[in-house]
């Protein structure tokens, strides 16, 4: 029972690790790392779903009747591409945040934001910020 679901246990553990990192860490890069681990666990989940006991690769061959299911592989290939795009965008945003705030720590960014907000309340009428 435990070993039969080995892949699923790996998936769940990785998923929890990923989510925990996203929630617990203030560093923007670490958050992205966590997010990537989280997504990767889903990739593993799909790939292990496709496994058929005793099946070979889904290529037409003589003397073979049992194939692994190719569809989840194709699906997850798409999801991997989406994951890469997300990571690239997140990293690009982090670069821009670093330029604008000179920090990639959530705490420091929040602090600067509240400061900016309280300055706005005292208001310079011609302030360009909104």
């Amino acid at each position: 029972m435990l070993m039969g679901l080995f892949n699923n246990w790996v998936v769940v553990v990785l998923m929890m690790i990923g989510l925990y990192i996203v929630i617990a860490h203030g560093n923007l890069i670490k958050k992205i790392v966590g997010l990537t681990i989280f997504q990767t666990s889903v990739f593993i989940f799909y790939i292990s779903m496709a496994k058929v006991d005793g099946g070979t690769a889904p290529i037409l061959m003589a003397n073979v009747t049992k194939y692994a299911n190719p569809l989840p592989h194709v699906l997850i290939l798409t999801a991997i591409v989406v994951g890469i795009a997300t990571m690239a965008l997140a990293l690009a945003l982090t670069v821009r945040i670093k330029e604008a705030y000179n920090s990639i720590e959530e705490e420091s960014i929040q602090e600067q934001n509240t400061k900016q907000a309280s300055e706005l309340d005292e208001l310079d009428p011609r302030s360009d910020k909104y």
């Binding site: 889903v42 945003l93 011609r126 909104y130």
Partner: protein, 496 residues
């Protein structure tokens, strides 16, 4: 040509986006994007007409039969959503050129239109497809481009808002992906109609229950349902005005469509509303969301933020209508999707006009603009009244249906709470009206005058739609009613 409308709906903006790169001048790109968006509006209007005439349209991609190939399936619900999205997108684009000249650096204009069209593609794709995995892919197309669009805002907080939205949005989308995987594992199919046929056999298993929980949670994150709304206020506030107007009117509606599609069509009403205490859960979260967000809105000093919180409250109304799970309730929810798109589109576009002239949407900067920008401010006033639910505006129609649905079920307390919440809406709308009409103009704003026509035309088209659909409710109510009826009919819950 007419037979290929479902695929054209997605293909036109998808091809349109890269073509933008080839056009050299920014004004040309704008014109092109407007034409593309206008085309998809015409397509969706034709689709709605076809659906109303001859029922559900099924389009098989590449000629492969449904469970193996991918199919696009358009019924009344999809057609209504398509119309809303493409109409709002076109109207918003009308004002886009003027607005982004002021808010986005010139060298980024082409990129803006590319991202905008991609985002439109994604939203239309989510609605049009009948394949669960396609939903995920299109959702990510629209989300990825929307993160980038939000980051274009000129305040640095836009970057931070985009980052937060990215993290939460990706978690939401991945949850949906897990849910879809679990469903596939149990049924071996990704086609929504096929899933709906096969899920009841395995409905008792824990796997299906888990799949359901994952999908619902993921969709609710995208939907910004209280308490999963944390990304929304900042994203709406710091994004460029045009982007806010576009997303406030469409993005959450697409997520709400998914919620309806998955609970009512894929899992089926009898499973959805019995497996988990969904009715109680959504009713409570909806009501809580309305109150918490409305009260938060009252305390904001940034007008864009006020209406961003108000959007979360309005999502509460939709979710309540959804949770009643009767024809009237669902009709109210669908009507409110349609009406809220009209109100928030008008409001955020008008705020875009204010930013264009004044350069700020702090409430203190609104002093006296009732006299300086009478048409813009009047638009905010009418759309605000609509938000409150004044008779003769669309807001009244959807609230009326919501209340009658609640009373039909005998849930008086909820109906009362909704009426009280309307007063909270009155408070934050009144704050803006008071400042704008009853205070003298600021000396620094002596040169401010009415917004350019490029703004006023789309704003007032939306405002007039707000009033028109508030008086002549035939089209909107008929479509919403027949859509919800057919959704419940498919479950055998309504005798035709």
């Amino acid at each position: 040509m007419l037979a290929h409308l479902p695929i054209l709906q997605v293909i036109v903006p998808l091809i349109g986006a890269p073509v933008c790169v080839l056009l050299s001048r920014a004004s040309l790109v704008w014109l092109f994007a407007l034409v593309v968006s206008g085309l998809s509006f015409i397509i969706s209007a034709l689709l709605l007409q076809q659906v109303l005439m001859s029922g559900t349209i099924i389009y098989e991609l590449g000629g492969w039969d449904a469970p193996w190939g991918i199919e696009y399936r358009i019924d009344r619900l999809n057609a209504l959503l398509l119309l809303i999205i493409s109409a709002i997108s076109t109207l918003v684009l009308l004002a886009a050129q003027t607005s982004i000249n002021k808010e986005i650096p010139a060298e980024k204009h082409t990129q803006f239109y590319i991202l905008y069209l991609l985002s439109l593609t994604g939203m239309l794709g989510v609605v049009v497809t009948g394949d669960a995995f396609n939903v995920f892919v299109f959702l990510e197309i629209s989300s990825l481009s929307s993160y980038a669009l939000i980051a274009l805002g000129r305040d640095r907080r836009a970057l931070w808002a985009a980052y937060q939205y990215l993290i939460l949005g990706t978690i939401g989308a991945t949850f949906i992906l897990i849910g879809i995987g679990l469903m596939y594992q149990m049924t071996g199919t990704l086609n929504m109609a096929d899933l709906a046929a096969r899920l009841p056999e395995v409905a008792q298993t824990k796997t299906v229950l888990t799949a359901f929980a994952f999908v619902i949670t993921g969709v609710c994150l995208k939907l910004a349902l209280f308490p999963l709304h944390l990304w929304l206020p900042n994203a709406y506030t710091y994004a460029p005005s045009i982007v806010t107007a576009f997303f406030a009117a469409t993005a959450t509606k697409v997520a709400f469509y998914l919620l309806i599609r998955f609970t009512y069509s894929v899992f089926g009403v009898s499973f959805s509303f019995t497996a988990l205490p969904l009715q109680f859960l959504f009713m409570t979260l909806g009501l809580l969301g309305i109150f918490v967000a409305s009260i938060a809105a009252i305390y904001q000093t940034n007008v864009k933020q006020i209406f961003a919180y108000s959007s979360i409250a309005q999502i509460g109304y939709m979710v309540i209508g959804f949770s009643i799970s009767s024809v009237t309730g669902l009709t109210a929810a669908l009507l409110h999707i349609f009406n809220h798109a009209l109100m928030k589109g008008a409001l955020f576009l008008a705020l875009g006009a204010v930013v264009y002239r004044i350069g700020s949407v702090q409430i203190s900067q609104f002093q006296g603009i009732g006299q300086q920008m009478p048409f813009t401010m009047a638009a905010i006033l009418v759309a605000g009244l609509s938000l409150i639910g004044m008779p003769l505006t669309v807001g009244f129609v959807s609230k009326w249906y919501l209340l009658s649905a609640l009373i039909e079920k005998g849930w008086w307390p909820a109906a009362l709470l909704i009426l009280i919440a309307s007063l909270l809406t009155l408070v934050y709308v009144w704050r803006i009206v008071e400042v704008a009409y009853f205070k003298p103009p600021l000396s620094t704003h002596s040169t401010v005058n009415e917004a350019p026509l490029a703004f006023l035309i789309p704003i007032w088209l939306l405002v007039i739609a707000n009033i028109y659909f508030g008086i002549d409710t035939r089209l909107s109510v008929e479509v919403a009613h027949s859509a919800s009826e057919s959704l419940l009919q498919a479950q055998g819950l309504v005798i035709p």
